[in-house]
Amino acid sequence: MRLTCPLCGERDRREFYYYGAEDYLRRPAEGAPLAEWDNYLHLRDNPAGVTKDLWYHEAGCAQWLVVTRNTVTHEISGVELVAERKA
């Protein structure tokens, strides 16, 4: 598997650290009910098909990436910078 980093280009999977589903980008507000934190930290849609997840380009530009990926075929259809998404 190879990921195309928006800054570095196409790179081997070994350069990247997988963190988890993009749910991690939707952090609840401080003081949110426990159920929201449980949902954020533990519960997942976990689709068999297209998903979006967070990868860190550890051995490259050190940017966090949102990767759109098919979990059944390993096809990668998009990689974007978390930083740009938030902007």
């Binding site: 081997d12 426990l34 449980d38 930290l41 997942r44 068999a48 997840d53 059944v72 075929t73």
Partner: protein, 416 residues
């Protein structure tokens, strides 16, 4: 038909014409007392123990493919009871005891072989951790023996004892650990359940779960609607999809774990050997193939096949530990789909829907759990109360903080 040595000889003398199918192929009835979704090891053992322990025989097991076609047929067949935490320890201890009587119980040769499991350690700190684990195993009533370097050499003379990066300090021997024939476990439970009246229905995919006013009423399938008083979801590898039919979002992320097998060789590795520092473990099947694996690929996947970096890593670890295997040819590799929970421990619990139960989240340790998982799931479904040895496998433990984090690495899907 009862299987025996005499039967094998008699059938051999008469051209093997007397064998009958191991189970029926019934059409689904309109209604059952219990429907189990999933005809893998855990689902079949749940059905078996519902009938055997609780007298509930009006049961259907619904399988979308063929019996035993999922993870029970795609694993490295290790059977052990070397857990540390209260909650895990008694469960796997119970499971190992069931394994030890399984062949007589099922009248089926599951080829359970207690050849001994050795976990190697390579530092003083790791030795301390294994001493602690060994004591926990002994306190649980199971067996553990601490081997020093020479003790390991007696058992495993073929290891590279000259390795300076990971010097072998010793190992924790679990003599009752071993392996079994994975398909036979599914087939044995299937046959046992069928003989007690359970309907095993293959090629029957569940497409919906019928719920009225918070109570389960049955399931929709590719072979029509089936009413049921109770439904059990036992589909590790597809748990999130089936649970979503009941409106649930599970604490599970599916990961891929690869395994490898070589060409058949003469007996060379007598134990199950695990090399935790290199993420590598190995045993030899009765057919002669070296069966080995490593760590997860570490990204969410349902592909049932992995990527090359982990293949390379596993081969390197194997060569580091036992260079003698370098000449063996790898025949094939495959990937199992693991229900990874945030703390690395499983779930056997009720759900928010009355009459709907779930058994899932087996991470990469489901095979050895097959007997006790079915035993405890059957107990839960029959009595409405968790079995004593599975009472900590709660679905809500992540929300409440009652984690079972055996590795002590934290409550996050990608850490186990």
């Amino acid at each position: 038909m009862r299987y025996s040595g005499l039967r094998v000889i008699t059938e051999g003398l008469f051209g093997n014409r007397g064998w009958t199918p191991a189970w029926r192929e019934p059409s689904p009835k309109a209604e059952y007392d219990v429907v189990i979704i999933g005809g893998g090891g855990h689902g079949l053992s749940t059905a078996y123990y519902l009938a055997k322990n609780h007298g509930i025989t009006n049961v259907a097991v619904l399988e979308k493919g063929y019996l035993g076609g999922g993870n029970v047929g795609r694993n490295t067949t290790i059977v052990r009871a070397n857990y540390f935490l209260p909650g895990n320890s008694e469960f796997y201890s119970h499971s190992l005891k069931l394994w030890e009587g399984l062949e007589a119980e099922l009248n089926y040769n599951v080829m359970h072989s207690q050849r001994g499991l050795i976990n190697l350690f390579h530092s003083d700190g790791q030795r301390d951790a294994f001493v602690r684990r060994g004591n926990a195993m002994i306190n649980q009533g199971d067996d553990a023996i601490l081997l020093d370097r020479e003790g390991v050499r007696e058992h495993l003379p073929y290891l590279d004892f000259g390795n300076t990066r990971f010097p072998i300090y010793g190992g924790l021997l679990h003599p009752r650990g071993g392996s079994a024939r994975h398909d036979a476990v599914a087939w044995g439970y299937a046959r046992g359940a069928d003989r007690r009246g359970v309907d095993l229905i293959q090629n029957c995919e569940v497409t919906g779960i019928d719920i009225e006013n918070g109570v389960v009423k049955g399931v929709q399938t590719t072979r029509g609607a089936i009413r049921a008083k109770k439904v059990g979801i036992v589909v590790a590898g597809r748990s999130s999809q089936v649970a979503a039919m009941a409106g649930m979002r599970l604490p599970i992320e599916s990961h891929i774990l690869q395994a490898f097998v070589t060409e058949g060789l003469k007996p060379v590795i007598n134990h199950v050997v695990s090399f935790g520092m290199g993420h590598f473990y190995i045993s030899q099947s009765d057919k002669g193939g070296l069966v080995f694996g490593g760590d997860l690929d570490f990204y969410a996947s349902y592909a049932a096949r992995g990527n090359l970096p982990m293949v390379e890593h596993v081969m390197e670890a194997g060569m580091t530990l036992m260079p003698m295997i370098g000449r063996a040819k790898v025949l094939r590799s495959w990937g199992g789909i693991m229900d990874m929970t945030p703390d690395g421990s499983p779930i056997i619990d009720k759900t928010h829907v009355e009459g709907l139960f779930i058994d899932c989240g087996w991470n990469y340790g489901g095979f050895k759990a097959v007997p006790a998982s079915g035993w405890c799931m059957a107990h839960l479904m029959a009595t409405g109360e968790p079995h004593e040895v599975a009472r900590k496998f709660r679905l809500d433990r992540f929300a409440t903080g009652h984690l079972l984090d055996e590795e002590g690495t934290g409550s996050q899907h990608n850490l186990h």
